[in-house]
Amino acid sequence: MNAPVTTPITYAKALNAALIAMMREDERVHFLGEDILDPYGGAFKISKGLSTAYPDRVITTPISEAGFTGLATGMALRGLRPIVEIMFGDFLAIAADQIVNHMAKFVTMYGRTIEVPIVVRTPMGGGRGYGATHSQSLEKLFFGTPNLMVVAPSHAHDPGRLLRDAVALARPVLYIEHKMLYPESLLESGGSLTVETLSGDPFPTVLMKNFSRGAADVLIVAYGGMSRLLAPLARQMADEEINLAIVLPSCLSPLAVDPILPLAAECGRVLVVEEGTSGFDWGAEVAAQIYAGAYRRLKAPIARLASRPEII
């Protein structure tokens, strides 16, 4: 992971700094979304300072999620590098046609690969009391969509670096941020917890462990905002001498299970944890891929923990 810093940077600040750096370095980068202009700076303040520094390339939009997502897709087709902010992830449903039938389709629908460099960022998840339409984890609606990568950094990742990687990839990326992670300091090794990067290209998987000797009793597979709950859990379990290995992929779809398989095989007990509703969930894909690659080594059926399939 990163070298230790004196003042830990927050998840929100890392995103903000990455946006400012990208705008500075590349004139093709444009930022679009609702209420993103200073002094307001976006509902979660991720774009604070951006419009002051780059007024021409920060475009505040009408409340037309489908409209400005399609607009940004058109900009991408004509050589610009738009980054779109959807204020709440729940509103992705409004833009779904533009994402599925336009943005992602253009990549290969015309018989050859076309560059569609666009990143759609959005906060998901509950925890702030916003209720049923502003707290969901709707990323699962987009899993498995051809030519659309779904990326979700935990706070054990560097969300700024991942955002820069997503823009550099020059293909459609849905970039999921958990709103409870914004004020969190980025997680680094310390105390009983070690944090290491398993694979890094283009989107790294991170491994957290609460033990230095012996083997993991349980391997937990999770992503995004779950790191906020799992890090203290791992510390607590360390006190009880239960060895936890927590693996956090950042690219959710398509899912490359390769970095997870040896861990699953070595441990034999796997639990997949996610905040989204249970059933047809990310954990089902993770479990299917682990079964396919490591079933002889499993000591118990893979367990999945997710939200009840009800409204929040």
């Binding site: 009408p62 607009l71 058109g74 253009f106 629908m109």
Partner: protein, 241 residues
């Protein structure tokens, strides 16, 4: 330099754009020699600055985004987006009208109002004044007889020049009639009604000012070329099997 965003019924747009007939027909037939390798098919064609997609109205914001990009680049390009009357019932078109007018984008929306959305006549699906949908956004609208070829040409040239000069978006609303079925032969309309409209169809009317023998010769040449192209593609496919 200029860009065309077409819709599900874009073969004519493609030919008018300057696209060649043979790769277009091959594409419709799903043949690898098609413009898009036979992957796109009838509704999904991309060639140079020509883009089409099969979701009604869905290309409106994409076209507006292209216009925004070209405006930023200072290329002077105009984006022309083709819509049908049916697509005007999609909310995304209104979103695109709003953004195009708000940011004064170089885009021309061309509405081919042909009276039917698949099988549904306009009167069963649109309230109010359909041609004036863009008016409340402040977009100048030219409503015209879409069957008058020269009149359409003049209006299109004027509208493109205005938006190219920085005048923001324009709408050409062209009243016409769909002579053919929506897609297959499942046309429930009264044949007599279709025949009446065929009398005043654009090509029939345009012939009036031209030499009839020459027109017939052109028709025969086109029919023979199309038959030949289809034959060639079929034969090549059989030979490849």
């Amino acid at each position: 330099r200029d860009i065309v965003c077409s819709n599900h019924r874009g073969h004519g747009h493609f030919l008018a754009f300057g696209g060649a007939a043979k790769p277009l027909i091959a594409e419709i037939m799903g043949d690898p020699s098609g413009i898009c390798g036979g992957i796109g098919g009838s509704q999904h064609i991309q060639f140079g600055n020509f883009y089409s997609n099969g979701i009604l109205g869905g290309m409106s914001p994409v076209a507006a985004g292209m216009a925004l990009a070209e405006k930023r680049k200072g290329s002077g390009a105009v984006v022309v987006q083709f819509l049908g009357d049916g697509a005007l019932a999609e909310g995304i078109v209104s979103e695109a009208f709003n953004m195009a007018a708000l940011w004064s984008l170089p885009i021309l929306f061309v509405v081919e109002s042909n009276g039917f959305a698949q099988s549904t006549p306009t009167a069963l699906e649109h309230a109010g004044n359909l041609s004036q949908r863009g008016a409340s956004y402040g977009i100048p609208i030219a409503e015209l007889d879409g069957n008058d070829v020269l009149g359409v040409h003049q209006a299109a040239v004027a509208a493109v020049r205005e938006t190219q000069a920085g005048g923001g978006p324009r709408i050409l609303f062209m009243n016409t009639y769909r002579l053919g079925p929506h897609s297959k032969g499942d046309d429930p309309r009264d044949p007599q009604e279709i025949a009446r409209h065929a009398e005043v169809a654009p090509i029939r009317r345009a012939r009036a000012g031209l030499d009839a023998e020459w027109c017939d010769a052109v028709d025969r040449k086109i029919a023979s070329e199309v038959a030949q192209i289809v034959g060639e593609i079929r034969n090549a496919r059989v030979a490849a099997q």
